[in-house]
Amino acid sequence: MAQQLANGVFAGSIYTLFAIGFTLVFGILRHLNLAHPAIFTAGAFVGIEVATRTEIPVWILFPVIAAFGALAGVLVERIAFRPLRGRDDEHFAGLISSVALGGVVIALLQARYGTEPQSFPQEYFPNQLFEFAGIRVTLTQLVTLGLALVLMLGLAWLVSATPLGRAMRAVAENPTAATVVGVNVGRVTAGTYALSSGLGAIAGALLALNLGQAGRELGASIELIGFAVIILGGLGSLWGAMAAGVILGLAEALTIHLFDSTWKSLVAFALLFAVLVLRPRGLFGHVKVREV
C-alpha cells in the first residue's frame, strides 16, 4: 500500500510537470497548445539521442533537453499560433493548427527514429535502489521527484516575484494594458511558450528515464491525464495543477493496488467527472480561472 502511494507520487510529479505546460500557456495567453504532448515526446527522444551519442552526465543532459524544449516552444508559437493572431477564431484555429503541428513533430520523430521504441544506454543512469521504512525507491524516481519539485517551485517563484513573471501576469489579465505600460507582449508570449515547452520536454525525458525507453505514443499516453490535471486543478492555476497532478497519480496508484491496472484510467476520469459536477471550476480554481 505505502509502496503504491509512493509510486503514485512519483508518477504524479511527472503528470504535473507535463500539465503545467498546458496550464501556463492557457493561463497567460488563452491558447490550448495541443502540440505540447508531441514536444513532451520529442524531449524524450532528444534526451535519449544525446545520452547515447555523447554520454554526457545527467546533470548536463537535462539543461540540454530544457534548451531544446524552449526552442521548440518558441517555434510552436511562431508556426501554429502567431499567424492566426487577430482572427476572430484565433483560439479555436490555434487549437487545430497546434494539433496539426504536433502531428508533424511525431511524423518527423518517426522519420528519424523509426517505429521502434528508443532506449537510454545501458547503465546510463545508476540503477540504485533505496529502502525507506519498507518502501523501495529507485534513484531515478528520487531524481524525478526532486527535479520536478525544484522546477515547479522555481516556476512559482519566477511568476510571482520576477519582472518577467510580473509582465506575464499583466499579459494574462489584459494584453492591451500590458502594452500600454511598455510590456513587449510578443517577447512575453515567446517566453511563456519557451518555459512551458522546456518543462514539457524535461517531463518527457523523465518519464522515458523511468520507463527506460520512449516510443512515439509517449505523449499521447499522457495527454488525457494532462487535461484531467488542468481541469481538476482549475485551468490556469499553477498550484492547482501541482496538487491535481499528485492527486491523480495517487488515485491511479490506489486503483492499481485495490483492483488492477486496467481500471486506472477509468478511476482517473471518473474522478475528473465527479469534480466537474461538484466543483465546475476545479478543486482550486476558485474565483479567477486565469490566476497564475
Binding site: 519582472p163 510580473r166 489579465e173 500600454v180 511598455g182 510590456v183 513587449n184
Partner: protein
C-alpha cells in the same frame, strides 16, 4: 504661453489617418506639441480623440501619416519602444492591472525605463493615497484612486511626453479637481502633456493650445484662451456655464 510656442516641437503628428475596417476614425489630423507645453484635444464622443492617442502611443497603426518624437520618425515603432523613448499613455478607462498589487503596477510602469525611472517611494510621496494601499490588489482601489494609480504608473517612468485619455471620466467632481491639480503639477515639472477630454472647458482652461475634433478631423485650432471665447466652440462644446 508664447515661449512654449517658439520651442521646438517634441511631438509632431502629421496628416495622420486611422481607419477601423471601413470606418474612418481619424482624418488627416496634424498638430505639433512644443516641449513643456500642454495641448488639449476636445470634441464630442466619437470625434476621434482617443484614436489619435492610440495612433500616437502605438496601439493602432495609422493608415497614413507620420508621427515624430524629438525629431525621430516613430510611426512604425511598436508601443513598448515608444514607452522606452518616454512617450507614455494613461489610457481611457485607466486600464490598471487589477490582479496585480498597486506596487506591482508601479514597477511595471518603471520597467521599460529602468535607467530614468523614479522610485516607488517618490510616487508614494506624490500620491500618498497609493502608499497605504501599496500591497493591495489594484482592483481594491476606488475609481479615483485607480485614476491616480494610472497616472502614477505613467509618471514613474519619468516620461518626456504623457498622453492623458479622458482622465476625469466617471469621477466625482471632487476627484476631477484632484486630477486636474495633478495635471498642473505634471506640466509644472516640465513634462509635455497631451490631454484628451470631453470636459472641454476644464481641459481648455488647463491647456495653452487646443484642437477641436469633429468627425475625425480638426475643426478649430488655436490658443486655448481664444477657443474658450470662440462663439462656434462655445455653442457646440462649452454651452452656458
Amino acid at each position: 504661453m508664447s515661449d512654449h510656442e517658439q520651442a521646438a516641437p517634441i511631438l509632431e503628428v502629421e496628416s495622420v489617418n486611422v481607419a477601423y475596417g471601413r470606418v474612418q476614425a481619424v482624418r488627416d489630423v496634424s498638430f505639433a506639441v512644443p516641449e513643456g507645453g500642454l495641448i488639449a484635444l476636445v470634441g464630442a464622443n466619437g470625434a476621434g480623440k482617443s484614436s489619435v492617442l492610440a495612433a500616437v502611443s502605438g496601439l493602432v497603426r495609422p493608415g497614413s501619416g507620420r508621427i515624430r518624437l524629438e525629431g525621430n520618425d516613430i510611426t512604425r515603432w511598436p508601443a513598448h519602444k515608444r514607452v522606452g523613448a518616454g512617450l507614455v499613455l494613461v489610457p481611457e478607462g485607466r486600464q490598471i492591472l487589477g490582479t496585480l498589487t498597486v506596487a506591482e503596477n508601479l514597477l511595471l510602469g518603471a520597467h521599460r525605463r529602468r535607467r530614468q525611472a523614479a522610485s516607488e517611494t517618490e510616487m508614494y510621496e506624490l500620491f500618498p493615497v497609493l502608499a497605504e494601499r501599496r500591497a493591495l490588489p489594484a482592483s481594491a482601489l476606488s475609481g479615483g484612486e485607480q485614476q491616480m494609480l494610472a497616472i502614477a504608473r505613467a509618471m514613474i517612468a519619468k516620461p518626456r511626453v504623457v498622453l492623458l485619455d479622458e482622465p476625469s471620466m466617471g469621477l466625482a467632481p471632487k476627484m476631477v479637481d484632484e486630477v486636474f491639480a495633478v495635471i498642473e503639477r505634471i506640466r509644472a515639472s516640465g513634462v509635455t502633456v497631451v490631454l484628451v477630454e470631453q470636459n472641454a472647458r476644464r481641459a481648455l482652461r488647463a491647456a495653452d493650445t487646443g484642437h477641436v475634433l469633429e468627425t475625425g478631423a480638426i475643426a478649430h485650432s488655436g490658443p486655448a484662451a481664444d477657443l474658450l471665447k470662440d462663439p462656434r466652440v462655445v455653442k457646440a462644446y462649452l454651452g452656458v456655464e
